[in-house]
Symmetry: C2
């Protein structure tokens, strides 16, 4: 009898136990081995939720229900599902002594069996698994229908200098010692999206498949959890051959016969993968040029990023109950791109509104471009000039305080009045305010706290300004010029004083962005930046701006993460620190 | 010859290598064994800084300088200092393969020797040490002047269900096997303050001292690192006797002769300490009452908390370069307490200014009380009424949009206009805006995002409302009634609509606060809260408010941490999640 493997690339809200139970019961029907992602039974990442008593109790009860249900079933299927296993001691008063990230086997007529505990618990960047989970220490080879499957959970497939053991090596050793034959390796994952990740997974899978000389099943979940996006993109690799792939950013299922997978395993596996900090964050930097340049995105990468942003936005909106979106247009590129993405993201029953809030420094060009864009996209645009409020505040301050109102004071108040009006409108309509900052701005603190930095979610916070332009171009090419040419071709400006241009106070973005990527993802200092072709003056200016703006980033909204390293939850930098050595080293 | 031990309870800015070098050189003079805290050479917590190339390079260079300096010294002293040890491989291109949290011995005429690597790396709540550091695996017994010292670093002294080994047990085993005699145990620490911590440290030290039948030296650092406060409070324990104690929240040094420490070690050590999640967060809850109540602070605890808040405020201000403070007064208790604390914290050259921004709903009582308080404290008070701006925004919205402006829209806009004005004033004077929210408000989301929730730092964000009143009482008793009685005795109100009182929409704070503490620190759900004596209606209301306000907490400013569990960096809760089971379990 042939061995069928069914991959279920599922999509659920965190801790939505009822829905997950229903899905499980609905899917476990056909004969064969059904695979579900890592922590399928709960969702991921759970963070502190995993320790909340109501979570633990509901989960334990639902696990029992699932066990009872399985006992009543019959059939020739089995399922491997990712879940949590709590361990309690009688004396611990309902507090778990250990929590494990495991694979359960669901056996009709019998119930649930705990087969395997994850051995490599990622604990870098956004990952905090060692905060909550205890490590496993055993290989697991699973028997089904006369076939042998080696089991892994997500990080287990990635050998790394962070971890003490290499589960793939340990399995290979056991296979050699016991002269076993393995028919497939299965990895149940919850692996976040980034723009370079898919290729990395495929390469690593190919190596493992060649090492074990059998197919490799990679199953990933789908979901947007605040800033973290899980892209699915599950696949089956057999030696050098990608046998099949599941959808991106979408629930999907696939049934495949293990016996029918044909491939050659004679090729030599590539060298053992080493996950270092550098490898992890794989910066998008072309260091062969002087000064260094960003590796530009090709169309496929633009398409992936756009899909990820749309998916992440919809996930946050749906889970928070928003049906309306609100974007403040400035006549510049960032807000135009945000509006275009929101427009492309809209589903039936959802709407988006734009607001344009000119001050005395806003040019008539900005007004015209904002009108032009909204007209083309069929988006209602409201005018809320802030000139009058701006003057009123200025008058009040001039009458009350002796200090000058010029400069930064006068600039920031405009931005904060806009933030206030934007959220007032949001209060009226219940719309979700979409932030319009980009990664370059965030890096140099080039935004006003509680002003243009407000929002429920940041779409572009992981895109440098040059990438904002690149994605804008891509959208215009493929979706019919949503963004007016006039917006793309004018110089970036905050329009908070007369004739203000970003380039007056910053290096051009083509020079700035690779510097920032070097600082953030490569963790470079002055010495390395000099070697990459930047001037001392540029470096000092940019480093100073970057180091002085931690406080703004610390209060920023969640940023949809599309890179290995973003200014989000995984960026953990003390604010209070000496910075002098950084300006000199 | 007697053995002198010199404890240096030091205080430096993170990564201030030059200053730390100078301090080291200045202090290493007298004969004896000099002790410095955990990670003394760098500061703590470093987070991602530990991976930045300029940090690593500057540190390596400075370590070499220290080594060179030590080689040129002579004398009968030795020093044990906490520091980082990077391990590189030739092929790793300047990227460390391991980073360790270690104790270096400084030997005159020889240089630095790496003696010991920390074995228990805390990785719960605010701690992320397993992100960066590799664990040690060896006991270290250090010889000086014919005496034997057992070495520990901070967490090593705390046996725990989170960790696989117990360093104290392992040392005791080696001592027994080798029939060694140990003359003292040394623990170099970087241990954050919380209101119950000192007692816990003493108790644990007593046990260890009795187990080893020798004195226990506990050396802690001093410093405020954003939200985390290190209190010093180093001490020497000998059996059941506290021999000596160093200062709180202040640099301090103490020299003591090991030979002169007299004590009895005949008492039986208390049972082995077990650090569970519950034990860690040791909630301040009296569960014997129905409904449960907060364990109120005694005067000593109030004094500690006040000292911690003043120290934390000064640390943040000094490190960020602020000399002026700015507080928005509402006429209510929170802002009054904040202003009183800032006043008590002021050092020469620093000043504080208050702003009162009444709206049409502000009562004349609020005005009078604000005036009264500032007059008494000699603090300049400015009036910036928002009535006019409020009307102007209302008019603009009424003319532009068909939707109603009543209710939340009308309430929030007042709060946000105040936030804008407050920050405009901060821009004018360069003053640091001190947030005035409390922990009860944060827990139920009872504040306006970008409105009254703004600030550079939150002083009261880890104090429930009842604790705000308790600390206010304490200050009034001990510092001469800084807060007018009228403020203390009026009912809490946001004054954003006619006759608004907190108690209209929330349970009384005496009932609310213990519920919140149960939810946050005990991680209780509905079932446990019912058992503690709360009604189903109360629980549902409060849980709903708490669960729905994660997004506000996610953008909140740093909160000075005075409890084991606070809404700061160590609170990691997903925003997007199913909450239905929590309302029912």
């Amino acid at each position: 009898m042939k061995t069928t493997v069914i991959l279920h690339q599922t999509h659920h809200t965190l801790a939505d136990f009822d829905a997950i139970f229903e899905t499980t019961v609905g899917l476990l029907k056909g004969d064969g081995l059904h695979l579900f992602p890592e922590l399928y039974l709960t969702g991921y990442p759970l963070q502190d939720l995993v320790l909340q008593r109501p979570f633990m109790e509901s989960y334990q009860e639902y696990l029992k229900d699932l066990n009872d249900w399985a006992k009543k079933q019959n059939g020739k299927w089995r399922a491997l599902v990712g879940g949590i296993a709590y361990e309690f001691e009688s004396s611990s008063g309902g507090i778990p002594t250990k929590i494990r990230n495991v694979i359960y086997e669901v056996v009709p007529g019998e119930g649930l069996k705990n087969l395997y505990t994850k051995r490599l618990l990622p604990n870098y960047d956004i990952f905090d698994e060692q905060k909550y989970f205890s490590k496993g220490s055993q290989n697991a080879f699973y028997q089904f229908n006369g076939k042998t499957f080696g089991l892994l959970i997500c990080e287990d497939m990635w050998a790394s200098s962070f971890h003490d053991v290499d589960p793939c090596e340990l399995m290979l050793q056991e296979v050699a010692e016991k002269k076993m034959s393995v028919d497939a390796i299965i990895n149940l994952s919850a692996s976040p999206f980034d723009v370079a990740k898919k290729k990395k997974r495929h390469e690593r899978a190919k190596t493992i498949s060649l090492q074990f000389a059998c197919p490799f099943f990679y199953l990933n979940r789908v979901g947007g959890e605040d800033e973290v996006i899980f892209d699915g993109n599950s696949f089956v690799m057999a030696g050098p051959k990608l046998i099949t792939e599941l959808k991106s950013f979408e629930q999907d299922s696939l049934s495949i016969s293990l016996d029918d997978i044909q491939s050659e395993y004679t090729e030599k596996p590539v060298q053992r993968f080493e996950n270092t900090w550098e490898g992890l964050f794989s910066p998008q930097l072309d260091t062969s040029r002087k000064p260094a340049a960003m590796k530009g995105w090709n169309d496929e990468e633009c398409s992936e990023v756009l899909e990820a942003l749309i998916f992440g936005l919809q996930e946050y909106a749906t889970k928070s109950g928003f049906k309306k979106f609100l974007v403040a247009l400035s006549g510049g590129m960032d807000s135009a791109l945000v509006l275009a993405i929101v427009k492309l993201a809209l589903k039936p029953g959802q709407s988006v509104e734009a607001i344009y809030m000119p001050s005395m420094y806003s040019s008539s060009v900005s007004t015209g471009l904002s009108e032009q864009m909204c007209k083309k996209l069929g988006i209602p645009l409201s005018y809320l000039p802030i000139k009058f409020l701006h003057s009123a505040v200025k008058n009040a301050f001039t009458q009350t305080f002796p200090e000058s109102f010029e400069g930064l004071t006068d600039e920031n108040v405009q931005s904060r009045l806009r933030g206030t009006l934007l959220y007032t409108r949001s209060n009226q309509t219940g719309a979700m305010v979409i932030n319009t900052s980009n990664k370059s701005e965030l890096a140099v603190g080039y935004s006003t706290q509680y002003g243009d930095s407000v929002g429920a979610l940041s779409l572009l916070g992981d895109l440098y300004k040059t990438e904002v332009y690149r994605l804008g171009d891509y959208i215009n090419q493929h979706f019919g010029n949503l963004i007016p040419e006039g917006i793309i071709h004018r110089g970036p400006s905050a329009e908070l004083r007369e004739n203000q241009l970003d380039q007056d106070s910053l290096p051009p973005y083509e020079r700035l962005d690779p510097m920032l990527e070097g600082i953030l993802s490569y963790r470079l200092g002055k010495k390395q930046l000099l070697e990459l072709g930047y001037s001392e003056a540029e470096i000092t200016k940019v480093l100073h701006l970057y180091l002085k703006s931690e406080y703004k980033r610390s209060q920023f909204c969640p940023i949809l993460k599309v890179k290995a390293k973003s200014f989000g939850f995984g960026y953990r930098m003390p604010m209070s620190k000496n910075i002098n050595y950084q300006l000199n080293t």
